[in-house]
């Protein structure tokens, strides 16, 4: 029997394992960045080399509101919104599935619209209000769609669930949850490899019929 204590989240919201994994990822991306420098230098003929390289690696200021909290962050332009949320803000509820906009696991709301955060550069979201799965519940009170997913068993492994729920909330808000067929069509950007689709549709129908404020 595993007698190890459950890991406690530290003050910055990340536990020891995750912190070291992220540090490793950060280190390896730094190594990757260093390894590409020579080609950058060769392409820099039109501009002073030092200046050009500084441009490439310069972090830019990003003003963004995440789950109701205004943030001023420093980001490299190539960082996606998904990676910013997970790696920099440690909001790991939003999942990285395919990282190419094909699975919907990374779905968040930007200014109230559902988007794939993996295909949006963080810097492009200047001034936007982002809501992630962590921002959906009101304190301890779950959002009606979260509650309905539990009631209808709308998941098995749960990896796609944050994206499914964010997408489902939008599906209802957009007015595209009027029938099972319409829900299937407008939820098609969220893939569930466990195949919990019938229960996901039931959960959405339930909230829609209940007329709750989503």
């Amino acid at each position: 029997m595993n007698t190890q204590k459950p890991r406690q989240a530290s003050e910055n919201g990340s536990d020891g394992f995750n912190a070291s994994r992220r540090d490793f990822l950060k280190l390896s991306s730094a190594v990757a960045a260093a390894s590409i420098t020579p080609s950058v230098v060769t392409k820099a003929a039109d501009k002073k080399v030092d200046e050009r390289i500084a441009d490439y690696f310069e972090k830019m200021t990003l003003n963004i509101e995440v789950n109701g909290t205004a943030q001023q962050l420093q980001v490299e332009p190539r960082v996606t919104l998904l990676d910013l949320l997970r790696e920099q803000l440690h909001l790991t509820g939003t999942k990285k599935g395919c990282d190419h906009g094909q699975c919907g696991a990374c779905t968040v709301h930007a200014d109230g619209k559902r988007i794939n955060s993996c295909l949006s550069l963080a810097i492009m979201n200047e001034g936007k209000k982002i809501t992630t799965i962590e921002g959906l519940a009101k304190g301890e009170e779950l959002h009606p769609v979260q509650q309905a997913f539990i009631k209808h068993d709308g998941f098995q492994c749960g990896y796609c669930t944050p994206g499914q729920i964010m997408s489902a909330v939008s599906c209802i808000r957009e007015g595209h949850a009027n029938s099972a067929g319409e829900i299937r069509e407008f939820m098609s950007g969220n893939i569930c490899r466990c195949g919990a689709y019938p229960n996901i549709v039931d959960a959405i129908m339930d909230v829609k019929k209940g007329g709750q404020d989503v």
Partner: protein, 326 residues
């Protein structure tokens, strides 16, 4: 993703000056295709010019027709009441494309500029004349189930992936483009090009130009259908798609527009079939004959031979549905 410079110009003029100054720069708007291509290493611009905040989102009616700003979101266009009632074909095509999330990010201009989803173009270990001119076409004798049956060349058999563009071709839309010297109009059917000897060039947009709007002339095409055949019910690229729009008076076809997606390097207008139908009774028999005319000259490359029969059946079906006969 390799590092790049990023700028966000304050206005259209600043954006056009920025692109004119730097030949290696690219515009980014929704990013749904470009970010993906950059992650895959298919394209690697040294500088991105973010035009996402330029005021080019408006959808408005004018005496020349419907003006849609290049930065209008695919979802906003699909949902627009004027589009849904007077240009239903466009709304149908937009809903048939991508997912709700992607439609909330993708812009009209970006949809027009999107690259092929040919797997050989995406796979940087494979030959592809579009990605690397002179390297060969992996698809020609490879796995070409998704590929072109019209207008291909021995250098490239890729297809244009857009649904929206198929509808806009059928609706005789015009594309408005600007550079830092002025603006010009390009008829939709002349915007995208066939691969020929230069598959690396998707379209006729010149360096330094930006798509600012599309204009759709008014029409009386009260019957329309966008039919998309794909490997699953939703959220997949077309094997073939058909945009069919009809104006029917006294049972006869007064005006007709037909275009196909998933079959060529550009949205494929079926002008011979349109000519055949014009003035003839809107009957299934005539629709079938038009479909046979439309597929004349179609050529399969092995895995995609099935598309020829599928195309003719889809044309008939789309016309039947548009005319309310199916």
């Amino acid at each position: 993703m390799i590092p790049f410079e990023y700028i966000r110009p304050s206005g259209q003029k600043a954006a056009l000056d920025a692109i004119a100054k730097d030949a290696s720069a690219q515009f980014i708007a929704g990013g749904t295709n470009l970010v993906d291509l950059m992650k895959k290493g298919v394209v690697s611009p040294q500088k991105l010019i973010d035009i996402g905040k330029l005021p080019l989102k408006e959808i408005k009616e004018a005496n020349t027709g419907l003006h849609i700003g290049a930065l209008a979101l695919n979802s906003d266009v699909a949902e627009n009441e004027i589009v849904k009632t007077k240009y239903s074909l466009l709304s149908q095509a937009l809903y048939a494309g991508a997912s709700a999330q992607l439609r909330n990010m993708a812009t009209v201009g970006g949809n027009i500029m999107q690259r092929t989803r040919c797997t050989y173009f995406y796979d940087t270990t494979m030959p592809c004349n579009k990605r690397k001119p002179g390297s060969g076409c992996g698809a020609l004798k490879g796995y070409n189930r998704m590929h072109a049956i019209f207008g291909a060349s021995e250098n490239c058999i890729a297809v244009h992936p857009s649904d929206m563009c198929v509808a806009l071709t059928a609706l005789n839309a015009t594309i408005l483009v600007s550079n830092n010297k002025g603006e010009r109009k390009i008829p939709f059917g002349e915007f995208h090009r066939l691969p020929g000897d230069h598959p690396e060039t998707d379209n006729t947009l010149q360096k330094g130009e930006l798509i600012t709007a599309i204009i759709i002339p008014e029409n009386n095409l009260q019957h329309s259908c966008y039919l998309k055949i794909r490997d699953r019910a939703s959220y997949a690229f077309a094997l073939v798609s058909v945009a069919a729009a009809l104006e029917i008076a006294d049972g006869k076809t007064k005006d007709v527009r037909l275009a196909m997606g998933g079959v060529a390097h550009k949205p494929w207008r079926l002008t011979d079939a349109e000519k055949f139908l014009k003035g003839k009774p809107a009957t299934e028999n005539n629709f079938q004959q038009a479909a046979q005319i439309a597929i004349k000259g179609a050529k399969g490359y092995g895995n995609n031979n099935f598309k020829i029969k599928l195309a003719s059946a889809a044309i008939t079906e789309a016309l039947n549905k548009a005319a309310g006969k199916a």
